[in-house]
């Protein structure tokens, strides 16, 4: 595997008033990575994702995607450049069907979303691609039911489908299996492990079994700072991690 870095932060900082929720975070994600971001509640994991995706503006530091500075780029520009995320809490379109929502994401990629003249029913390329993507995640008839009627696990999967529809180069998953029973959560991660090699994945996850099974490397965030980074084995043996994170009995 080449070590080409696709996403990089340099001394990233974010404060809410006097509270520094992200402190000097320097982080690199290589092409095709399967990395995990862990840390106790309130460690600043979601904040870090929000900074990367442009939901929050950093107070200091830089973010680079494919070597280009995107620190000030609007959220939608980052998505167009291949930096795509899912949300910890389902952030979907309740009255659209998964098929419509997926077609929307694909139509955007094809530059159609400001076109009031084209018939949607004639957008065969977009519809077929959306259908294929949903089919890969075995949506079946659920693809044509309003999203709000779907089971929770399906909605979690739709988060991932919508992200994939944007053709990510870097995929940031904020607790993709949050609230999903353990067996189904394993299935979600199997699906993610099967993603094409050229997509770099960074995921936040609390279930340590899942993290140790799927992550090549793990970054431990505590109080907004990187405590340590390493392979699952290195992290498991790290005395401070055991003390600060694994040792306090949370989510183990």
């Amino acid at each position: 595997m080449t070590a080409e870095t696709v996403l990089e932060t340099e001394r990233l900082n974010r404060s809410f008033g006097a509270l520094r929720v992200t402190q000097d975070v320097s982080f690199k994600l290589p092409r095709g990575a399967r990395y995990a971001l862990i840390g106790p509640n309130g460690a600043g994991k979601s904040t870090f994702i929000n900074l990367l995706t442009g939901v929050l503006k950093p107070s200091g530091g830089r973010i680079k995607l494919h070597g280009e500075d995107i620190t000030r780029a609007p959220a939608q520009d980052r998505v167009r450049r291949g930096l795509v995320r899912t949300f910890q809490i389902n952030t979907l379109f309740p009255h659209l069907t998964p098929l419509e929502a997926t077609v929307l994401a694909i139509a955007q990629r094809h530059g159609l979303c400001v076109n009031p003249f084209k018939r949607l029913s004639g957008c065969h390329a977009e519809i077929d691609e959306a259908h294929e993507l949903l089919d890969r995640f075995q949506f079946g008839a659920d693809g044509e039911r309003p999203t709000h009627e779907l089971a929770y696990g399906r909605q979690r999967l739709l988060e991932i489908v919508l992200a994939l529809a944007a053709r990510p180069k870097v995929l940031l998953l904020d607790e993709p299996a949050a609230g999903v029973p353990q067996k189904e959560s394993a299935e979600i991660f199997e699906a993610l492990a099967a993603l094409p090699d050229d997509i770099a994945v960074l995921f936040i996850e609390h279930d340590m079994d899942v993290v140790f099974r799927f992550a090549q490397r793990i970054t431990v965030l505590v109080a907004g700072q990187i405590l340590c980074e390493g392979t699952p084995d290195e992290i498991a043996d790290h005395p401070q991690v055991r003390e600060v994170y694994l040792g306090d009995g949370e989510d183990v």
């Binding site: 659209l96 139509a107 089919d135 299935e187 199997e190």
Partner: protein, 341 residues
């Protein structure tokens, strides 16, 4: 239930067809649309003595449909939509009074000027959301009203705009006192614009508008910045309201200052909610229902008819968001033993 992705992602051609069929179903003509337009055309023969009133109700319908594009589809509320209706009316009116009385030119001019005004306003509105959006549209409405009120050399101010010289339609058909030409002219224009609105809501742009309504915060995560969509929706909606205003000015050959009034902005909101939001035809139905209701109630109770409008509005809203259209559809579905969608 969460499922493992199928290896290779194979899918059958038959299900691809069902996926495509979903979008065809969405774009298909619904029976309530067909019934409405057939009845609207038939009303020319059924109610020859009421053509002027019916024409005005249809024009209001176009105005309500223009709001539906914004509010019903994209979820952008407006308390000042009458501004664009009024701009269209005054453009056509001033043109016909001072320069050129051709109704089609007045119509196009009304659409253009209202559209440009909408495009300018959209640059402010598309940056806001929620209450701020509502307040800015309200402000725009009030500003336009007072400009027309003060600038009476141009608009006739409080006395209204008089002296329009509308030439015969296509040089052939003179607007008659019974409103026959006015009805046919308005009907054709409104129907064409309805077809255009239908095409718009069933386009990728229309889907993006629904996405904005459903979850505007998710849109950037799909790569959609939404400002371009909001601006375009606002502009198109304003131009369409401008056409409605121009039609009213041309068919009545008089413009009252109240075309720009806050009352009209509210009326159009009430009619939309009454008829049913986000279906286009609900806007037409709501406008007719509101016009008839106001007409009947004001005969029956000249001083207190707003009480009943309020009451009926509350009852309709409590049955759901589909308005009269939704209620009718549920009744017919039940009669036919279908499960309603």
């Amino acid at each position: 239930m969460v499922a493992v992705p199928a290896p290779g992602g194979q899918h059958s051609a038959a299900t691809t067809q069902t996926a495509r069929a979903l979008f065809q179903r969405r774009a298909a003509w619904r029976w309530e649309e067909v019934v409405f337009w057939v009845l609207a055309a038939a009303s020319y023969f059924i109610f020859p003595g009421h053509l002027v009133l019916i024409t005005q109700a249809m024009i209001t319908g176009l105005f309500v449909v223009s709001l539906d594009l914004m509010f019903g589809y994209a979820g952008i509320p407006s308390f000042g939509h009458a501004a664009f209706f009024g701009i269209g009316a005054y453009t056509a009116g001033i043109l016909a009074r001072d320069w050129w009385g051709d109704p089609l030119i007045g119509l196009v001019a009304g659409a253009l000027v209202a559209g440009v005004a909408g495009a300018i306003c959209s640059q402010i509105v598309a940056r806001l959301n929620g209450i701020a959006m509502l307040m800015v549209t309200l402000g725009i409405g009030l500003i336009c009203y007072e400009i027309a009120n003060k600038w009476n050399t141009l608009t006739g101010g409080d006395d209204g705009l008089q002296g329009m010289q509308i030439t015969p339609l296509l040089g052939l058909f003179t607007f008659d006192i019974d409103g026959k030409v006015g009805f046919i002219y308005s009907f054709v224009v409104i129907f064409i614009l309805y077809l255009m609105a239908r095409r718009l809501v069933n386009s990728p742009f229309g889907l993006a508008l629904k996405g904005i309504r459903e979850n505007v915060r998710r849109m950037p995560a799909l790569g959609i910045g939404v400002r371009a969509q909001l601006a375009l929706a606002f502009t198109i909606s304003a131009a369409m309201a401008g056409v409605a205003g121009a039609l009213l000015a041309e068919t009545t050959q008089y413009i009252a200052l109240e075309v720009l009034g806050f009352d009209r902005s509210i009326t159009v909101q009430i009619a939309l909610v009454m008829g049913g939001m986000g279906s286009l035809i609900g806007g037409m139905i709501g406008a007719i229902a509101y016009t008839v209701l106001r007409d009947q109630l004001s005969l029956w109770s000249p001083a207190y008819w707003d009480f009943f409008v309020g009451l009926i509005l509350c009852v309709i809203v409590m049955t759901g968001t589909g308005g009269i259209t939704g209620i009718l559809r549920r009744i017919v579905d039940r009669l036919l033993g279908r499960t309603s969608q």
